[in-house]
Amino acid sequence: MQTPEYFEFLNQAKIISGKKALEHIPIELDGFNSRKPLVVTSKAVSGAKLDRVLAKAFYDSNTIIGGIFDEVPEHSSFSLAKELSILFKGRGCDSIIAFGGGSVADVAKGVNIMVSEKNEDLLSFIGEGKVKTRLKPFVYIPVSYSDGTEMTNVACIDHRIIKSDFLYPDIIAMDPRATKGCCRECVVSTAMTALTHAIEASSVAHYNPVSDTYAHSAIQFIYENLAKGVKSLGNARAGLALANAAVMAGITFANAPAGLIHTIADALSSITGHNRGTMMGVLLPFGLEYKISKKLEIRGELLLALAGLDEYVKTPEKEMAVRSLGLIKNLIKSLKGALPEKLSDMKIPEYHLNEAAKIAFNASGKKYKEQVCLDVLQHAYEGKSFI
């Protein structure tokens, strides 16, 4: 095991996971001296009557729900954040609960900045490190869909990024009632985002033993539970395990620079409007293959996380990366078509690839060469192997 020369790591959130986790939220909030949260969520949650489950979970406590706003659309906006901050102040709330994935958490973070910094101009916080004060207690309740940023220090509102360590949730409460799979697409997209983030965060170049502990748990949970979770969406155990994976992967992702596959997927999905997680899933095997073909090292421990101790110790070190790739390919095969095999299956016009490669190159701060990005994209488009 190598010794890292230098690393930093932070996980701000207290994680609670399992049976009746929602019922624990009042006492956790009480630990912050908070008694009146505003709940921000979407129709996907209230449609499944989960808002009522949450309200019931607060029975017999002293915690009043300041309101449940369940109309966050798929894309968050500054205007919505502003309206919600008025609701927050009007009701005299003292904390925020984001119940749901993606835009729900983004908007909640925006609201939290406005009410904590006492500044209506959310635009002035765009960028990194503009938030200066500790924010109100922020609870994130994961559902089966996550875009991989809810648990991080980033909020994306109207396609603008606000980044600050103060944005990390204080509490993440995973409850099997909330994390049951909603649809195959969501489950697969969430898992592929997490898998890509976890694998890329535990790369050779950025060896970080603390981050590794989160990444390895995430990879293992996905490998063991994804097929089950996709096959039977009602499987509460698999749902909870996948939510755990998403949270852990998100935390490592926030502590590591964005990897090649993430960056390319992000670029292509911003052009085409396709779901980013699905994109990562399609690109993941090709990206890994590329790294193997270029002899860029892939951590042997990846195999440990995927296959477990017994198989890991039997595999010669040289074969570990290829073996890991094989397992990931098998995993994707076992999803039986829930994930497209190649980009061309997604009806993406080929000329978008060049554009995506250019964006990825710039987004990575010129770290990932345009030609490299394009190479990976083209292979993924045709479904052509690197090896």
Partner: protein, 421 residues
């Protein structure tokens, strides 16, 4: 991977680790709007010249408000009150604590007073009295063992009433733990060995304890691997800075693991032996660890078998049939203790019988074993051990540990096989 039906995990400490990590402190303070830290430490640390090193790295960029270097070996609430007074009179706005368990506990106590007001720590006794963010606290550990930089509880003594008070609150967690190998470089081998074994024990007990969870599991395995690969090396070559850093990382990882999963029989007996006979904590850990594993074979044998990989490496793990792995893991730990014993010229102890103080006096006479067993029953860590521990059980294990012979497992009263989490 085991997903417990319910678990909680919290470690809000930002870890900054590496060569020259100390130099990152001023920037970190500035991000928390602090510019005048107080340094809290003990005489041993300042005597070893470590405070000079810290102030050298920090003092160029921020003004150090005050230095208190007289924390006693057992943190005391009166000392806490006194330090808080100095902090206020010097107009400090944050705390940097340098040292092991006692200074870190003391600093946590000071932080309660200077953040929430008041002159007496006793006013904040009991859980639930600290419910808001405190002043910035940066911990710089110097021992690579206790993991106190990652734990949320402050244990502070009231010597008049002869009790130890626990102040548990997530707000007591340091904001930042700074792991710099220069801080542990001067720790002599005979102290490095037991403190390393303390971290080792935290990780092992966290991995087999009742409150284990996925994150405590992976961090425990990492910690064990780091200790196994580096402890003996560093004890033999104290200037191995890379090894020192690895041990500091291991200690922090083990700390974050056990503070979220708790410890079991080893610490149960260790706390009791330490309390009754004043044996250093690390010495107890090295001796009891093999027994703590053996005692739980019938409940969590498979988990103990897993430990063989980080302890002995892939080859040994692959060679050993599944059934034999738990015993092999224990044998490897006994061998490590023996190797450390040899490398320190006999100053690393293998059994209770051979523990002596500096004057050569035996610290744990056989007559004290019943008293130790009785004390152990009142210690909290037994709750998290998978098998029940009664007075008779504790005494039985103690008698084995006294001689240093493997546990006769026929004597364990088994409350069922296998353990669900």
């Amino acid at each position: 991977m085991i997903l417990p039906s319910y678990y909680e995990f919290c470690c809000r400490v930002k870890t900054i680790s590496g060569q020259k990590a100390l130099e990152k402190i001023p920037g970190a303070l500035a991000r928390m709007n602090s510019f005048r830290p107080m340094i809290i430490t003990d005489k041993g640390v300042s005597g070893a010249g470590l405070i000079k090193l810290v102030s050298g790295a920090v003092g160029k960029k921020v003004k150090i408000g005050a230095i208190y270097d007289d924390v006693p070996a057992d943190s005391d609430y009166k000392v806490v009150n006194a330090i808080a007074k100095i902090y206020r009179s010097k107009g400090c706005d944050s705390i940097i604590v340098v040292g092991g368990g006692s200074p870190i506990d003391t600093a946590k106590g000071v932080n309660i007073l200077v953040s929430l007001g008041g002159n007496n720590l006793l006013d904040y006794c009991g859980s639930g009295s600290v419910k808001q963010k405190l002043k910035p606290l940066i911990a710089v550990p110097t021992t690579s063992g206790t993991g106190s930089e990652m734990t949320l509880v402050a244990v502070i003594a009231d010597k008049d009433r002869n009790i130890k008070m626990a102040f548990p609150s997530y707000f007591l967690l340091p904001d930042i733990a700074v792991l710099d190998p220069r801080m542990t470089k001067t720790l002599p081998p005979f102290l490095t060995a037991p403190t390393g074994m303390d971290a080792f024990t935290h990780a092992c007990e966290a991995y087999i304890g009742l409150a284990k969870n996925p994150l405590s599991d992976t961090s425990a395995l990492q910690a064990i691997q780091l200790v196994s690969q580096n402890l003996l090396k560093v004890v033999k070559n104290p200037n191995d800075l890379n090894g020192r850093l690895a041990l500091a990382n291991a200690s922090a990882l083990a700390g974050l693991s056990f503070s979220n999963s708790m410890v079991g029989l080893v610490h149960n007996l260790g706390h009791a032996t330490g309390g009754v006979c004043h044996v250093p904590h690390g010495a107890c850990m090295s001796i009891f660890l093999p027994y703590g594993l053996e005692y739980n074979f019938h409940k969590v044998g498979d988990l103990i078998g897993d430990l063989l990989y980080p302890i002995a490496g892939a080859e040994v793990f692959a060679e050993t049939p599944k059934k034999a792995r738990p015993e092999k893991a224990v044998a490897c730990i006994r061998q490590l203790n023996q190797d450390l014993h040899d490398a320190t010229g006999g100053r690393h102890f293998r059994n209770l019988k051979e523990i002596t103080d500096r004057s050569g006096k035996q610290l744990v006479p056989k007559e004290t074993l019943p008293l130790i067993a009785k004390t152990a029953i009142g210690d909290g860590s037994k709750v998290y051990n998978t098998e029940e521990i009664t007075y008779d059980d504790a005494l039985m294990v103690l008698e084995h540990a006294y001689e240093g012979i493997p546990l006769n497992r026929k004597l364990i009263k088994k409350g069922g096989k296998g353990q669900k989490f």
